[in-house]
Amino acid sequence: MDMVVEAGVIKQHLIDPEICIRCNTCEATCPVNAITHDDNNYVVRADVCNGCMACISPCPTGSIDNWRTMPLVRAYTIEEQLTWEELPAELSPEELEAAGVSGASAEAAEAPAQTQAQAAAEATEPVFNSAQYGASVPPWSAAHAYTNLFPPKTPTTATVVGNFNCTEAGFDSETHHVVLDFGVVPFPVLEGQSIGIVPPGVDAIGKRHHARQYSVASPRNGERPGYNNVSLTVKRVTEDHEGDPVRGVCSNYVCDLKVGDTVQVVGPFGSSFLMPNHPKSHIVMICTGTGSAPMRAMTEWRRRLRKSGKFEGGKLMLFFGARTQQELPYFGPLQSLPKDFIDINFAFSRTAGQPKRYVQDLMRERAADLAALLKDGASHFYVCGLKSMEEGVVLALRDVAKEAGLDWDTVGAGLKREGRLHLETY
């Protein structure tokens, strides 16, 4: 995945003083002591909160589930929050722009995608909102993720130990598989987490570049097992969303790195898009392009477990979309995985002489198998890739459920509640 997130932007965790009853449960629950109070309010320290969500379910009121996109430098201080009588409104796009935050990065700022208030509001709206089904909790059997060991203010250094083009050579859209080694610096990651790379130098107005976030493509014990390294899947950005030529600052920096170079890294990030550890759990992976990175990580971890005999029949199913076969990262290695290990479905939208096919088309074709998985409480669904795929994918899941006679509202709510449907699109 090639999610562009400015490390200078946060989704700040806030408590609604109008709904909070000052019961102290959040403060008593918070594992990192991010919550404090005075006689007036309960507040969250922006520099301590790691978004672990431990405070969310014990709160009896829902007041705890509020998030605001904020430039890090303007994050509300606890002193400010303690004086509040109501929550401030979300900064307008113009205000964010003025603070140097672009619309896209504001949207991508790392945080739970959904607030309780939004969820309540959307419940009454007929418009389909795929994001409301995305879980903000990890699967019950996920391993514990470390986050923010190296926050934006104090990055660590990693050394490039590998960098190769993993798409077919000679095509415009180059995707690189980059391996970074942390030496003796602790940097534990899990499949589904991401890290930030800080490109060197300054931007047009002389400010240091902000970090860009990439999903880790290697499993928890390293790209090379037993080594303290991770791999990333980075697509060289050569045009913007409108198709105009533009050189992506970070993607070009990363794609051009040579073995032996050092890079500044922040993170790890992410505590919910995590794979289940339970040996009988099923994993359905739906991705496009570099959204394949976390899927590769999960697949590889399962492959290593299977090799060591520690697996008990959890199914792997992959829906992978790209414009052409040549653009698919990891196409070759995926082809060589045994069929009884992973059920792979490719969709190509721009193959000459063929009708366009998207991942959701393939999902509908495989409705019978997906329906069986939707009925099984051990199934987990992961979606990663371009934002435009998200709605289509969730609608396809909903239709599969409906056709199988399942009540989607129940199934969808269950998937979300149990941390079994994860959406990470950009």
Binding site: E18, I19, I21, R22, C23, N24, T25, A28, T29, P31, D39, N40, M53, A54, C55, I56, S57, P58, C59, P60, T61, G62, E85, Q116, A117, A119, A120, A123, T124, V137, W140
Partner: protein, 475 residues
């Protein structure tokens, strides 16, 4: 993660299976508990499937699992917060020593008394509320009532576990007695006065859960500091459940006020009779209910000077609210605190030894917390453009315990004569006519998403469910 073992008859995270004697004792108590629930638990609720929160572990991910369950099948069990092997006593004469895993002989009687008193309040509130299900203003509120009921039942279990595990035959007898006393019973009442009062209607219920369950928060928080580690860990977990009870009270009263304000604006009136005629509870009645529940609740903290409180603190049995956050010596010898008394017809403050005034310290912490909550209710009126404000009465108003007991006092804190008290009583406290009026509004509304006319719908549903979710399925 401390996982709760649901395969056992009594769900627990305390390895109950390893202590056969205790397990048998608790399994012997369990049928009596169910009998008690059937006799005086929520009336007419046996066949309902209620959307209840049940703990599967005591960590944040596990303790709030929701699903439709019959209340009688709710898995009442024994859950303690995770322990800390290095925890030390952090106040009183034993400060700096390792906390106790067993009851020290010299503190046995006092600890038993503390646990029994706390335990007695839990089933009492279930008894006080048993008729309310028949007059719920909505399905959402009905579910909240039932959630509170089952959790108060579990809090009883929490105390009974401590009694049976740590107090031998005495403990077993006390555990039995907890099921024999009954709220308001002339011959065998509950230990504390507030728990023998009636909770006749939903406004009273909301006031009770706001004020009296908030008393629970402060009492449990003080016990969560205890040097007796099993008590500290038990009460810590109870606090997470107690929060929902306070929420029901605070948001309940707030919704009553919001509805009244709405009707006042629609009718452009502040005339209590017109508001009543429109089917809403006038602000004067709300203020009188508030005066009553507040004054009865602050009595729960005990006498303003108490040698027991001093002994409990110095011996490490019961700390102050947020003991760990206070920056004094945590021994409190030689310090003083101001308490109220009446001298020559006037209220005056006098200094008393801090250790003897610890009930008053906890009461004042509670008062501060309560007052800011009333401030939040006033915000509702402020937003609606209504000039009236609610307030808590003076600390000495309508007190039955301590130096202020029996003194006649106006809500503003003026000492008044018996004659004036008699004349003004119905202005200050709910009259029989107030009770009759509020009772007249109590009709049952149980269609999903519908609410009685005297209360506004909540801002959001429970566990992110919509407000019109089927919180209770009637069997």
């Amino acid at each position: 993660m401390s996982t709760i073992n649901y395969s056992e008859k009594i769900p627990n995270n305390v390895n109950l299976g390893e202590d056969r004697t205790l397990q048998r004792a608790l399994e012997g108590w369990q049928p009596n508990f169910i009998n008690w629930w059937d006799d005086v638990g929520p009336e007419g609720s046996t066949n309902h499937d209620v959307y209840l929160r049940t703990a599967v572990s005591v960590d944040p991910q596990g303790w709030a699992q929701f699903g439709h369950v019959k209340m009688r099948d709710y898995r009442w069990g024994i859950f303690l917060n995770p322990g800390d092997a290095n925890r030390e006593v952090h106040f009183g004469d034993h400060k700096g020593e390792k906390v106790w895993q067993d009851v020290p002989g010299e503190h046995r009687a006092n600890l038993r008394r503390i646990i029994v008193t706390q335990g007695d309040t839990e089933p009492a509130s279930v008894e006080q509320q048993r008729h309310l299900g028949l007059t719920a203003p909505s399905m959402y509120d009905l579910r909240n009532l039932f959630q509170i009921n089952v959790e108060e039942g579990r809090h009883l279990w929490a105390m009974v576990y401590l009694l049976q595990k740590h107090f031998g035959r005495d403990g077993r007898e006390e555990a039995d007695a907890l099921l024999q006393r009954t709220s308001g019973d002339a011959n065998n009442p509950r230990i504390l006065g507030a728990f023998n009062e009636k909770t006749p209607d939903w406004l009273a219920f909301f006031m009770f859960t706001y004020f009296t369950d908030r008393d629970g928060k402060f009492q449990l928080a003080a016990l969560a500091e205890s040097a007796f580690d099993p008590l500290a860990r038990t009460t810590k977990f109870m606090l997470t459940e107690e929060a929902h009870h306070m929420f029901v009270g605070e948001s309940g009263v707030s919704r009553v006020i919001a509805r009244t304000a709405q009707v006042m604006n629609e009718l452009k009136t502040d005339d209590a009779q017109k508001i009543r005629a429109a089917g809403c509870i006038d602000l004067g009645t709300i203020q009188r209910y508030l005066n009553f529940h507040y004054s009865v609740t602050i009595d729960l903290f005990g006498a303003d000077q108490s040698s027991n409180a001093a002994i409990f603190y110095s011996s490490g049995l019961k700390g102050r609210y947020e003991e760990g956050k206070r920056d004094d010596d945590h021994v409190l010898k030689g310090q003083t605190y101001k308490v109220l008394e009446v001298k020559e017809g006037q209220l005056v403050e006098k200094d008393v030894p801090m250790l003897n005034a610890l009930n008053e310290v906890l009461r004042d912490d509670f008062i501060k917390d309560s007052v800011s909550g009333v401030g939040r209710w006033n915000k509702v009126l402020e937003k609606a453009g209504i000039p009236t404000r609610l307030s808590v009465p003076h600390k000495a108003f309508n007190r039955q315990i301590g130096a202020l007991a029996g003194i006649k006092m106006s809500p503003e804190g003026r000492v008044v004569s018996e004659v004036e008290w008699a004349a003004k009583r119905d202005e200050w406290l709910p009259s029989s006519e107030d009770f009759a009026f509020v009772a007249s509004l109590m009709g049952r509304v149980i269609e999903p998403g519908k609410f009685a006319g005297w209360i506004a719908p909540p801002v959001m549903g429970i566990n992110r469910q919509p407000v019109d979710f089927e919180y209770v399925r009637f069997g």
